[in-house]
């Protein structure tokens, strides 16, 4: 019976790996295989969850005292997350059967879906940190492969995502090994380390980085919007929206509750800070987005903040709220991305300004999207409300219970969380309005609802949103409390009678609709062309895009500059690291001039240093001299460059204007440096970044 744990991991992994290498002719085979296997793993996951305590152990490798055993165990937390993850896998497979048009990389797509399913099962079932790491990496690879199937420009997004999530893998590896160095074991259930000295604190920070990067929280979040823009929406719905969140938060819960005993106030402060900052910053960016998929991606970041904040509180209700929010988020965000995908497929674009009025054409998509949007905005009686409510309670409880560290600042965290929720609602009002409600553009007249295979997953997810909202006790009792070892009833306090409230809300909405209906019937409405200052315009031209209302935010003083810088990637750690790296590489490459005597010099200098070390001179002296020598060479080469300055007279023509001046310049890269120097001396609007292309008749005269 215990061997059942192997199947949901290795069956999809093997099948996925084979699919990757199959020729494209076998597309229908891979579709069928993926469907069958994802269905099977879901069934197995449910079985594993209901059976409960299962353990599987198998010795894989032993080198001296380094033991590598494949330890799998079904624990309540992993078990319920596994069930939902597999459910998402099946729904997305169903959705993909129809959504992907004739693509040349269908096998890679389905293979990678299976890889991600198997990898996820592996992460959730592993009780051994190194195996957890391996499966974690497999999920990263599958994310990369899935994004590459997105066509134009997706390769850039895929590269960026892999590089950034790769940081998460690297951090996980280092953190894992530090834990091993401290506790001598990789078995998760055997580890319990107090965060009192430096080593455990660094290990904790590394693992935390791994978890929140996977989940998509600040500051290593920028892979998410980039891939959101270029990856297929079904991919976004599966991995970044659902599975990556589940895995990231799962790891965070594991490290906070099982691996480490958090005793350092600073660490919970860091977590709370990351949580609140993520909520507020990402939602601010999301508000001003014009692209449906990008907007959803930023919300996928923002919502992680609630989960991290909930876990940071350390209180039962907070953690339960964070985990519940993780589950709810996966459900509604997956639904939202699927809706987004449906809109993109039907309308052919994701630009909010070019969409509108699709509510009547795609009613199922509209209703499911509305439900999911209300859920993410934390509107009662949907599921997002309950979990956010629990997180708020957790923050308040933390503030009243303790007085140190993160707890002292609880009003700040609470404000961020509640304000973030308001802004979420604000940006979803825009989305719903621009996509489904405003005027239908001329070119979208023939739009039709997507196929039932695609609407089915959306309907399932939307109904889960409603069900988990109204009957929130059910998932809490069934999944969350047992997973976290919380006594039912201790976690949530106050009264929130969701059934009564739902009834009242429905009655209220019904009354409202009634009044609207009466009003509409009793009034005569006529439609006339718009009249502006003596000119009439057809109503089609008078569409007011929802995005324009939000320009107030993006052009607000102070915020405006931040927004522009953000848009230009100034706050993107990936871009910054790239810049830094490229500058360093440029230096290094300049050293490799291809001149043989230089290389010979290196050899002789190297020999000198090694002689010093080997012949008994202290190692530190040797290294000191070595560093000194290797600093001297680049310095010399830079100094040499400076000497080549010449006095030049320059004349040239730019867009019909003749210009002339005199400069001291060096000879390398002459043309560009002249123009830059000219720009510096006489600032002019004629100069912009691509100077070189506009210049005519450049003449340079050596005066000396």
């Amino acid at each position: 019976m215990d061997k059942i744990l192997l199947v949901p991991i290795f069956l999809p992994l093997t099948a996925g790996f084979v699919l990757l290498f199959l020729p494209n002719k076998t597309k229908s085979l891979s579709k069928a295989l993926t469907l069958v296997i994802s269905g099977l793993t879901l069934a197995l996951a449910i079985r594993i969850f209901t059976v409960g305590q299962l353990d599987y152990a198998c010795s894989v490798l032993q080198i001296d005292n380094l033991k590598l055993d494949l330890l799998l165990s079904a624990k309540p937390l992993g078990g319920f997350i596994l069930m939902f993850a597999m459910g998402f896998g099946l729904l997305i497979t169903l959705y993909s059967l129809r959504s992907r048009n004739e693509t040349k990389r269908a096998n890679v797509y389905y293979g990678a879906i299976l890889l991600s399913i198997g990898g996820t099962a592996g992460v959730l079932l592993s009780n051994h940190l190194l195996f957890l790491l391996m499966f974690w990496e497999i999920v990263t690879v599958s994310l990369y492969l899935l994004i590459t199937t997105g066509g134009r420009n997706s390769n850039f997004a895929a590269t960026k995502s892999f590089a950034m999530v790769g940081v998460s893998d690297a951090a996980l590896l280092l953190g894992t090994l530090m834990i091993w160095a401290r506790s001598g074991t990789f078995v998760i259930s055997d580890i319990s380390i107090a965060t009192t000295s430096t080593l455990p604190i660094i290990a904790f920070l590394l693992l935390m980085t791994a978890a929140i990067t996977k989940a998509g929280a600040l500051p290593l979040h920028t892979w998410l919007p980039t891939s959101g823009e270029y990856a297929p929406t079904s991919v976004m719905a599966l991995l970044p929206a659902a599975i990556d969140k589940l895995l990231g938060i799962y790891l965070l819960v594991i490290i906070v509750r099982e691996i480490f005993v958090l005793e350092s106030a600073a660490l919970s402060f860091i977590l709370a800070l990351i949580g609140s900052a993520t909520v507020i910053i990402a939602v601010m960016i999301a508000m001003v987005q014009h692209n449906l998929k990008k907007l959803l991606s930023y919300h996928a970041i923002s919502q992680v903040g609630y989960m991290v904040l909930g876990i940071a509180t350390g209180t039962a209700v907070g953690i339960a709220g964070g985990v519940f929010h993780m589950l709810n988020h996966a459900i509604y965000k997956c639904c939202l991305f699927l809706c987004g995908g449906a809109v993109e497929q039907a309308a052919g674009t994701c630009e909010l300004d070019r969409l509108g009025g699709l509510g009547k054409k795609m009613s199922i998509t509209f209703i499911t999207c509305l439900i999911a949007a209300l859920s993410i905005s934390g509107m009662p009686p949907f599921n997002g409300f309950v979990s956010k409510w629990m997180v708020y309670q957790g923050v308040i409880q933390m503030g009243t219970a303790r007085t140190s560290g993160a707890a002292q600042l609880w009003p700040v965290w609470l404000t961020c969380a509640i304000f973030g929720s308001v802004l979420t609602l604000a940006s979803f009002v825009k989305l719903i309005h621009s996509v489904f409600l405003s005027r239908l553009p001329e070119e979208l007249k023939d739009v039709k609802e997507v196929s039932p295979l695609q609407t089915f997953p959306m309907v399932v997810l939307a109904s889960l949103c409603v069900f988990f909202g109204i009957f929130y006790h059910v998932p809490l009792k069934l999944f969350i409390y047992p997973a976290l070892n919380i006594e039912p009833g201790t976690a949530i306090f106050g009264t929130w009678d969701s059934v009564l409230a739902t009834g009242l809300i429905i009655i209220g909405i019904g009354l409202g609709l009634l009044i609207l209906l009466v009003g509409l019937l009793s009034r005569k409405v006529r439609t006339v062309p718009t009249w502006t200052c003596g000119e009439t315009q057809t109503n089609e031209q008078m569409t007011i895009p929802g995005t324009h209302f939000y320009k107030t935010v993006s052009s607000m003083g102070g915020l405006k500059q931040l927004y522009t810088r953000q848009e230009n990637g100034h706050f993107d750690l990936y871009n910054q690291a790239q810049k830094l790296g490229l500058a360093l590489i440029k230096r290094l490459r300049r050293l490799h001039s291809g001149i043989l005597p230089t290389y010979l010099t290196w050899v002789i200098l190297g020999l000198l240093v090694i002689l010093l070390i080997v012949c008994g001179i202290q190692i530190w002296w040797g290294s000191l001299i070595a560093t000194a020598l290797f600093l001297v060479i680049p310095l010399l080469s830079i100094l040499k460059k400076e000497e080549k300055m010449k006095k030049l007279k320059v004349t040239f023509e730019i867009e019909g204007t003749h210009l002339a001046d005199m400069f001291y310049l060096n000879e390398e890269n002459l043309e560009k440096s002249i123009l830059l120097a000219f720009d510096e001396k006489n600032p002019s609007p004629l100069f912009d970044d691509n100077l070189n292309t506009k210049v005519r008749n450049l003449e340079i005269q050596d005066i000396e």
Partner: protein
């Protein structure tokens, strides 16, 4: 089965000089020459597999040491022998189709086999002067092969390689002379015995430094690496595979390890020196590789970085032995280094072969002039992806395991910062191979490449063979295989200077 050790050297050496005779027989003769050369490399592979896990000494002409010359096959030698024969068999198979672009195929095959003979000689030689001789045979053959295309760029690269390589050889020769002068012996076992008796004097220390620089030049450790990024890309692809895959390891790493660990014995400062050289190569090589726009040049810089891992593993092991005397910890580090050496031999040669396949189809090595080749070259793409996954360290491919062991070894010995650097360089490696994937295989197919076709035949077989190895090499850690292939090699290095006693005892028996 015990195969006489000189066979490993004599067979390729003799065949090498026979081949030009065949090729004068016209078209048919060339085909025969190709088949014969392939037969030789494959039979070398079979023999190498057959002699795994043995420890034997062969005395040339029955002259007993220290008067005579001996060949020694121990764990380390047989590991290297295996790696050499795997890479050369694959590269030779690849050449059968690839070298049809060039003329003078017989000369190519001759030089190729000479290089193999030289490398086998280096690995088997128990005598330090013979080691130098074989090192020169392999080096000179490789200088000629780098310039085989006879274009401007290739000749320049070959010239630079020759100058720097000869300097390395001269350092080694000078060191050999110093050692002979100070110990009165050229046999490594007896040199080691003499050093154990009298200790290191100034002359021997000087020789040691010269050995490090000389072999460091052959291994392309930073700062002695400058020839490699010119030489490796300029050679024909199968030769690049040989050079990066195995030549730098045999002439550089193996010889260095043998001399440092078995002849002189490691000291703390030598351990540190190797660690620093390794780290420097890893970091500098990785950064430089990221900045390259030329496919093969990127691979060449990445070789420098990967060689750094190997030297780091050996250096850490040596340092731990010399400082703490903890053999278990040291053996894990050395295991990581040697395992990485074997893995790198396989995946880097595969990467160079795929780059050759791409170059043959597209006619360019510039990354930015390619794109979208995934559809046109499916097999090249698949094998290149497997090799990239290996070098980046994605489980369950081979590179993951060796890097994991290295990191674990570093953490175990409390070198946390070393572990952090290893992981950081792995990230850089990830970025450079993402770059390869992005520019070569993904994206849009350029107009001028719409008509290209994949080259099939022997090239495919060679690439698929190596790709399968990449997937399966992780199994070398399974106890049954590890105790026969990797562990004997590790033990040779951890036992250090008891090599001398072992060899002398073995010779007595013979």
């Amino acid at each position: 089965m015990s195969i006489p050790l000189p066979v490993f050297i004599a067979v390729p050496l003799v065949t090498a000089f026979l081949l030009p005779v065949f090729s004068s027989l016209g078209r048919k003769g060339k085909a025969v020459a190709t088949v014969l050369a392939n037969f030789v490399t494959v039979s070398l592979l079979v023999m190498a597999v057959a002699s795994i896990g043995q420890f034997r000494v062969y005395e040339v002409g029955k002259w007993s040491i220290p008067l005579g010359i001996n060949l020694v096959l121990d764990g380390l030698s047989s590991l290297l022998l295996l790696a050499i024969s795997v890479v050369s068999a694959a590269a030779m198979l690849f050449s059968a189709r690839y070298m049809e672009q060039y003329t003078a195929k017989a000369k190519y095959l001759c030089l190729f086999l000479l290089m193999v003979a030289g490398m086998n000689g280096v690995v088997l030689s128990g005598d330090i002067f013979n080691l130098f001789v074989f090192l020169e045979i392999a080096s000179i053959a490789s200088y000629a092969l780098v310039g085989f295309g006879c274009e401007h760029e290739e000749l320049e690269a070959s010239f630079k390689y020759m100058v720097l390589g000869s300097i390395g050889s001269i350092f080694v020769l000078f060191a050999v002379a110093l050692v002979y002068g100070n110990t009165g012996s050229l046999n490594m076992a007896y040199i080691s015995k003499a050093i154990q008796g009298s200790g290191l004097n100034a002359g021997l220390s000087f020789a040691m430094a010269l050995f490090v620089v000389g072999f460091g030049l052959k291994a392309a450790l930073v700062p002695f690496h400058a020839w490699l990024p010119d030489a490796h890309p300029s050679a024909p692809a199968p030769i690049s595979a040989m050079l990066s895959g195995i030549l730098i390891k045999t002439l550089g790493i193996y010889a260095l390890a043998r001399v440092v660990f078995n002849v002189f014995g490691v000291s703390v400062s030598m351990g540190w020196l190797l660690v620093v050289l390794g780290l420097l190569s890893m970091v500098a090589g990785a950064f430089l590789a990221i900045g390259q726009e030329d496919f093969k040049r990127l691979l060449a810089y990445s070789s420098i970085s990967q060689i750094g891992y190997v030297v780091l593993g050996l250096g850490l092991g040596g340092l731990i032995i010399a400082r703490d005397g903890n053999v278990a910890w040291a053996s894990l580090a050395i295991l990581g280094g040697l395992f990485h050496l074997v893995n790198h031999a396989v995946y880097k040669s595969l990467l160079f072969l795929t780059s050759g396949s791409v170059q043959m189809s597209t006619g360019t090595r510039q990354l930015k002039q390619m794109g979208g080749l995934a559809e046109k070259l499916p097999f090249t793409r698949a094998t290149c992806t497997v090799a990239s996954a290996s070098i980046v360290g994605i489980p369950p491919f081979s590179g993951f395991w060796s890097k994991l062991i290295l990191v674990i070894a570093a953490v175990q010995a409390h070198f946390y910062w070393v572990a952090a650097i290893i992981v950081f360089v792995s990230l850089c490696t990830l970025i450079m191979y993402l770059k390869v994937q992005r520019y070569v295989f993904l994206g849009e197919l350029p107009e001028n490449l719409q008509q290209i076709k994949e080259n099939k035949g022997s090239m495919l077989v060679a690439m698929v063979f190596l790709a399968c190895l990449c997937g399966l090499m992780g199994l070398l850690l399974v106890p049954a295989l590890r105790s026969n292939i990797l562990q004997p090699a590790v033990d040779v290095l951890t036992d250090g200077i008891s090599y001398s006693a072992n060899v002398i005892k073995m010779s007595m028996k013979v």
